[in-house]
């Protein structure tokens, strides 16, 4: 069947010693191929796919966490800003309130002072009037007496003396007022 088979072959080792080698080689290889294609390669590829998936999933999770952190940060910043604004408003209000209160107190104090001054003035005026009245009588008497002593007796007419004293005093007073 294979005329060149055997040691006398002109092809030497280029012709199989037994053609079984050829078929056995193919058969063994097909078995290996079958096992690798059916069991080995799918297993490896599945592991690789799972691994890639795991890594991709991890990245996705990290991205999500980062996003959430950014949102939280923004919220905090917003809250902080609004709190600051509120504080500023409160401060402003307090300032204006304080100014109002101060003005009120000032006004009240001014009024009190005015009142005190007025009452003191009135009292002083009254006392002065009283003193002036008392002095007028006294000074009139003293002056008349003094004048009587100087002049002698001519000043018996009380009525006349009193009138002249009054006049004198009025003059004095008006001159004083003019001098002022």
């Amino acid at each position: 069947m294979w005329p060149l088979e055997g040691e006398e072959s002109a092809f030497g080792p280029l012709l199989p010693e037994h053609w079984s080698e050829f078929f056995v080689g193919i058969a063994l290889f097909l078995v290996i191929w079958f096992v690798v294609a059916k069991f080995v390669a799918p297993m490896f590829e599945a592991t690789y796919a799972k691994r890639a998936d795991e890594i991709a999933g991890g990245i996705e999770r990290a991205e999500k966490a980062q996003e959430q952190a950014a949102i939280a940060l923004r919220e905090y910043q917003e809250q902080l800003a609004s709190a600051r604004q509120e504080a500023a408003a409160i401060r402003e209000e307090a300032k204006s309130q304080a100014a109002d209160v101060a003005a009120e107190i000032k006004q009240q104090a001014q009024a009190d002072a005015d009142r005190l001054v007025a009452s003191a003035k009135a009292q002083i005026e009254a006392e002065r009037a009283q003193v002036v009245r008392a002095l007028r009588g006294e000074i009139g008497g003293l002056a008349t007496q003094l004048a009587g002593k100087i002049v002698g007796e001519s000043l018996e007419d009380d009525e006349r003396a009193r009138r002249s004293v009054e006049r004198f005093l009025d003059e004095l007073e008006s001159s004083q007022a003019a001098a002022k």
């Binding site: 080792p13 280029l14 010693e17 050829f22 193919i26 290889f29 080995v40 297993m43 490896f44 590829e45």
Partner: protein, 264 residues
Amino acid sequence: MGGFLIPLEGEWVSPGVHSFDSRPLFPGVLPDWVNGHLAQAVIGAALVIGFWLWVSRRQQIVPTKRQFVGEWLYDFVRNNISREALGPDYRKYHPYLLALFSFILVNNLFGEFFVFMFPTFSKIGYAYGLAVASWVLYNAAGIKRDGFGHYMKKMTLPEGVPIYMAWLIIPLEFLSNFIVRPFTLALRLFANLFAGHLVILVFVLGGTYLLTLKDNLFYNFSGGVSILFSFAIFALEIFIGALQAYIFTVLTAQYVHSSISEEH
């Protein structure tokens, strides 16, 4: 007489084609083709299958050491051969290439290791077998994609060839793509391992013969040197065995790629 290193005392038989003859395992009981080399091919296939099943079971996201070794080898073929040559289509053909690479590699390493000391693919029948398998694969892949007529046209008449050259180009391309390819695949693998094993036989058997020769110190010394030198040849053969497995697989991937690609 296989790889058995006992020369007959006083009678030198140089290693040659006869050194590659298979010995029947059970002469008289089973047919002659049930021989040691067939047994080692079967054992090699069993080792390959066992290894891949072992490293692929109970896989985890974070690999164990066992899985890591498997992934390293798997990725070597997947990324450096399958994906490199086939691009995005690699998934479909990757199992074939992985099986091819690991089967050839293990059998080539048999030339230097284990109890066999004989590379299976220095028996050309096995090399022809794998070459035919690859030939069927790349042709089937192309025919499946383009249909028979279209595929034949693509493979025999490259685009851009003027029609008046067709009478020359078509036979040449046919010869190169359908006849030469499988033969070169098989012969390259076979010849490298055959020659390498023959060199090892010469150095080891010759060295042993000279070393054990009586009453000649010079011959004994050169025999020792020869045996020492054979270790370097062993290292070279390990490299060549791995390289040939790689080349066979890469070329198969290239052929498949040329069959399923859009243009030539």
